[in-house]
Structure formats: C-alpha cells, structure tokens
C-alpha cells in the first residue's frame, strides 16, 4: 500500500460515481448487485496490488486505488421499506468506477 498523499486518485471524497455495469472476465471483487448503481466516495483507502491479476499469479501491478463507496439501500433494492438514510458501504477498485454526469 502507498500513502494517500503519493497516489494519483481519479475520484475525490464526496464524488458521485457509477459502478461499471459489465461482466468480469475472471476473478473480481465487485459484487453483482452493485453493477450499474450510483454511490458516493466516502474514503480513499490507498493503492493496493490488483486482486484481478494476483488471482492469476501475476505481480498485481500497476497498483490500483481502492475506495470506500456508500450506497443508499433504497437505490439497491426495489421496494426497500427501511429508513431512507439506510446505506451500505463497499470497497471498490478505481477501474470499476465511472464518473456520473
């Protein structure tokens, strides 16, 4: 992992992002139920070796920035009946994130 101040991040805390709506070609850490959903960056964890490459015995480079992204439960589950502020947080790598317009 690399210290925050040294890594180039595409997204800043507070940015609204869409999780890419695509199939993975192999191992990936992005849950299916988040694909295509919109959330907000709440934390930049740092840069880590890429699990999608480590899974195939590659060195896991280049390092990938990992974010904590917050989603409203009501944006994820149709007919969600809980409080409107209920949310879920997931750790998502940068290459799964797209800017929202």
């Amino acid at each position: 992992m690399t210290a925050h101040s040294q890594i180039a991040t595409r997204f800043k805390v507070g940015a609204r992002v869409r999780i890419a709506d695509r199939s993975a070609l192999g191992h990936c850490r992005t849950p299916w139920y988040l694909r295509g959903r919109i959330g907000e960056i709440v934390e930049v964890h740092g840069a880590y070796h890429d699990p999608e490459r480590l899974a195939y015995h590659k060195p896991g480079l280049p390092l990938q920035v990992l974010y904590k992204v917050r989603f409203l439960q009501s944006d994820l589950w149709p007919g969600y009946h809980g409080p409107a502020t209920d949310h879920l947080e997931a750790d998502i790598y940068e290459y799964w994130l797209e800017p929202t317009l």
Binding site: S23, A24, W32, Y33, P51, L54, A55, Y56, G60
Partner: protein, 135 residues
C-alpha cells in the same frame, strides 16, 4: 458431537455473467448461525493455507478465491467452507507445479486402501478437479 452447517442449493436467477459465489441480494433464506465444531483436517487445512499463501508465497489468497469461484453451482453449493479450501489448495498446488495431479490421485488411493484394509468406510466420492486446473 460434531455438527456441520446445513447445505442448501438455490438456482441463481438472472445469471448472465454472475459468478456462482456472487449471490448478494438473492433470496437464500435464513443463514444457519449455529456455531459448529472444526474437525482436525479443517484446522490443518487452515494451517496449510497460511503456510502456502503467506509464508511460502506459492499463491495469493486471490488465486484461491478464483479457483473456488470457478466451481459449478452444484459443486459450490454442496461443499462446506473447508472442503472448498482444501480442493482449491489441491488445485493450486497442481497449477503451480508443486505436485502433479497423478501424485495426488495416487496418494489418495494409497490412503483409501489403508483405510479399507483397517476395515474403515471410505467415501466413494471421487475427487473433482476445478475446470481451470491444468491436468
């Protein structure tokens, strides 16, 4: 008495690219939250993973996840937590050419013979290899 978690299988509707393990949000009914005992082989499996992935760097934990996710749905649903682990460890040891599939099969047969000779019951289940394991 040793207890095991209940196994259950459900069809994954709306698949199309969703891997077998990626079931978040699907209705699988209540989770079996009972504590269950670990057998000696399960503790050994845990120790082996730490040795191979952390100490010896034979493979990364991400590779193990990849192999487990690569199982078919029936195989994924009918195996327990540590059964998934030990199968994945075996596959990765072959994949990384630490041992060959033939060596594993031969050793399994020797152990089975020894148990039969001692009058113990031997599971008929043949070991199944992951689809991605080079044989």
């Amino acid at each position: 008495m040793t207890t095991s978690p209940t196994r259950k299988t459900f069809l994954r509707d709306g698949g199309g690219g969703r891997a077998v393990h990626d079931v978040g949000g699907l209705d699988f009914g209540p989770i079996d939250r009972h504590e269950h005992d670990l057998a000696l082989w399960e503790k050994r499996t845990d120790a082996m993973l730490i040795l191979l992935a952390s100490k010896k760097d034979v493979f990364k934990i991400d590779a193990m996840r990849r192999v487990i996710e690569d199982y078919g749905q029936q195989e994924y649903d009918r195996t327990t937590y540590y059964e998934k682990w030990i199968r994945a460890i075996r596959n990765l040891l072959v994949e990384q050419e630490i041992v060959s599939a033939e060596e594993v099969e031969r050793r399994m047969a020797e152990v089975a013979d020894r148990h039969r000779a001692a009058g113990r019951e031997v599971a008929k289940d043949r070991i199944e290899w992951s689809r991605s394991t080079p044989l």
